[in-house]
């Protein structure tokens, strides 16, 4: 709280901390954060309910958000979401959801898996990703955004282009 001129500013960071600890924004966690911040739990709850990334109901500890917005939709985002949903069927620890634009249209269709970006993904890769996730392995290392080169650089174009022909 000391980093902000006003302690109220810490509400989103505090809710992130609650979510890290409990997996979601539990009533107990919210009460604790509210006590530290000297605000009412209801205030923090109203903040939490506004934001898509803060969960006010229990969710799995692994989070998969598949983008279904315009650019990903054009390249098969809906099918990818369906594949992830099917692959995660029965795996209660995995929370799969469709999501609005994640800001990675260059690797469409893409997904954010435990807060790291991957793409472009084929529906067939969903099963592999979920298996790797549950086994605690690196997920689809070749498809990680972190590995991607700048668009103008060579070595990227073909893999993406061919598939969509």
């Amino acid at each position: 709280m000391g980093r902000y001129p006003d302690r109220h500013s810490v509400s989103i960071p505090a809710l992130w901390a609650v979510q890290r600890l409990y997996g979601w924004c539990t009533p107990e966690g919210i009460r604790q954060a509210a006590a530290v911040m000297r605000v009412t739990p209801a205030y923090l709850e109203s903040v939490a309910s506004f934001y898509d990334l803060l969960h006010i109901e229990p969710v799995g500890s692994h989070k998969v958000a598949v983008c279904t917005n315009i650019s990903c939709w054009m390249r098969g985002g809906d099918e990818l979401l369906g594949a992830f949903r099917a692959a995660a069927e029965g795996a209660e620890d995995v929370f799969v959801t469709g999501f609005e634009c994640l800001g990675a249209c260059d690797i469409a269709p893409m997904a954010s898996i435990d807060e790291r970006y991957f793409g472009p993904l084929e529906p067939g890769e969903a099963g592999t990703a979920i298996d790797q996730l549950l086994a605690g392995e690196d997920v689809l290392p070749e498809k990680a955004l972190a590995k991607r080169q700048l668009a103008g650089d060579l070595g990227w174009a073909d893999g993406n282009g061919d598939r969509n022909a």
Partner: protein, 421 residues
């Protein structure tokens, strides 16, 4: 024309992310000079003369915006808007991930111009990896004395906090961003008062986009004339353009403003996929009215040319729709996004986005009549200009453009009762 990499210079070098790597390319020299030798007014003047226009969407003069802040001893703030959530936009992600120190240096120099002692980077929560790299870079900058107390022995101070959002497009709207940063639900505020007068914690606040602030170090280093050497009279400088959708090489390309749009889409992004043709494109993110290929491909890619064509450059994000894309479905996808992201504060936006989605769903299910298209258009007209912020307008503009320009396709879909949503 090839790319003109200024902001993305050396971006392929992973070392650029570190302070040592950034300094190796001359980084932070401008900050040192600015803190030691320059007055706020000099920096402000350079920024105003450069004609740098905001890269977040509105395209407002950055120097002018900074000059609106009152002088005086009150606490002032600078917020960097890194809540990049506009469908189609992913340039700030690239700039933060590949060159975080360029942004930090820009913020620190702009803070002198604004007289701000406290700065924030409001980054969308989804950009976790980018926020991590910013955190690391900010820590390095503090360590090196480029942030904190008595920067470079200048007796000037600046605190910089990386603040992660939690998933809400509306927080990219500048007053909603302020509310979110104050720990509230991200609802837009009534303007005026504008943030420059009464912003964060009630103090004068300068809010600029990541790319805008990333331009600051070089403008101050090389001068306004140098910057005006790129781009057009009304759109000086280079722009990082995000291109996605139906092209061979989606990605970020940095070009001089004013180059033909065709070169961006065809030469750089590789043009349409095998056997496809370009049907339409959003020239400036999903909020920009779509242009048909015939209307748009030969326009210069500049703020003024896009405005003249009835659209906008926006955040500089091109989404290409080829002839396999159903425009009614694209309109529905667009409307659903704004409906989901509407904060619900203003009735025209809350209800208008809701109705538009429902009507478009009826269109694609084949349950609508041609009169419904007129109703859709009139709903859009009633949203525009009637809300606190432009979120509703951002749906109304592209949707009404699609209905107007592709009306026969909408009618055909309704008649055919085809396309599954």
């Amino acid at each position: 024309m090839p790319e003109t990499r200024v902001l993305l210079a050396h971006a392929e070098d992973p070392a650029l992310r570190t302070l040592a790597g950034y300094r190796g390319y001359g980084g932070y020299a401008t900050l040192e000079k600015a803190y030691r030798e320059m007055e706020a007014s000099e920096i402000l003047e350079e920024l105003e003369d450069s004609g740098l226009r905001g890269r977040g969407g509105a395209g407002f003069s950055m120097g002018k915006k900074a000059s609106f802040l009152p002088r005086g001893e009150m606490a002032k703030y600078l917020c960097c808007n890194a809540d990049e959530s506009e469908p189609g936009a992913f340039k700030d992600r690239e700039l933060m991930q590949r060159n975080p120190h360029q942004l930090i240096e820009g913020i620190a120099i702009a803070a002198i111009a604004a007289g701000a002692g406290h700065a924030f980077i409001f980054i969308r929560g989804e950009y976790d990896a980018q926020a991590d790299s910013l955190d690391a870079a900010v820590a390095e900058a503090y360590e090196a004395g480029y942030l904190g107390k008595d920067i470079c022995g200048s007796r000037r101070d600046l605190e910089l906090v990386v603040h992660r959002g939690a998933g809400a497009y509306i927080c990219g709207e500048e007053t909603a961003l302020l509310d979110a940063l104050e720990g509230k639900r991200g609802n837009p505020r009534l303007k005026p008062p504008f943030p420059a007068v009464q912003g964060l914690y009630g103090g004068p606040t300068l809010i600029n986009n990541v790319e805008t602030l990333s331009n600051v170090p070089r403008i101050v280093a090389h001068g306004a004339e140098w910057f005006r050497g790129y781009g057009t009279e009304q759109s000086p400088g280079t722009k990082v353009v995000s291109i996605s959708g139906g092209v061979w090489r989606p990605g970020n390309y940095e070009v001089e403003l004013g180059i033909p749009t065709r070169e961006l889409i065809y030469d750089l992004a590789g043009g349409p996929l095998e056997g496809r043709e370009i049907k339409a494109f959003y020239p400036g993110g999903s909020s920009a009215p779509v242009l048909t290929a015939a209307e748009g491909l030969d326009l210069p890619y500049s703020f003024e040319a896009m405005a003249e064509a009835g659209s906008m450059l926006g955040s500089g994000s091109i989404i290409v729709a080829d002839d396999s894309v159903s425009i009614p479905l694209m309109a529905l996808r667009t409307a659903r996004f704004y409906h989901h992201e509407s904060c619900g504060k203003c009735t025209p936006c809350r209800e208008g986005t809701n109705w538009t989605v429902k009507m478009l769903e009826r269109v694609v299910r084949g349950e609508a009549t041609p009169m419904d298209l007129d109703i859709i258009s009139s709903v859009q007209d009633n949203i525009m200009g009637n809300c606190l912020c432009v979120l509703g307008d951002s749906m109304a503009m592209p949707v009404s453009a699609m209905v107007k320009k592709f009306r026969p396709e909408f009618e055909a879909v309704m008649a055919a009762e085809a396309v599954a949503a």
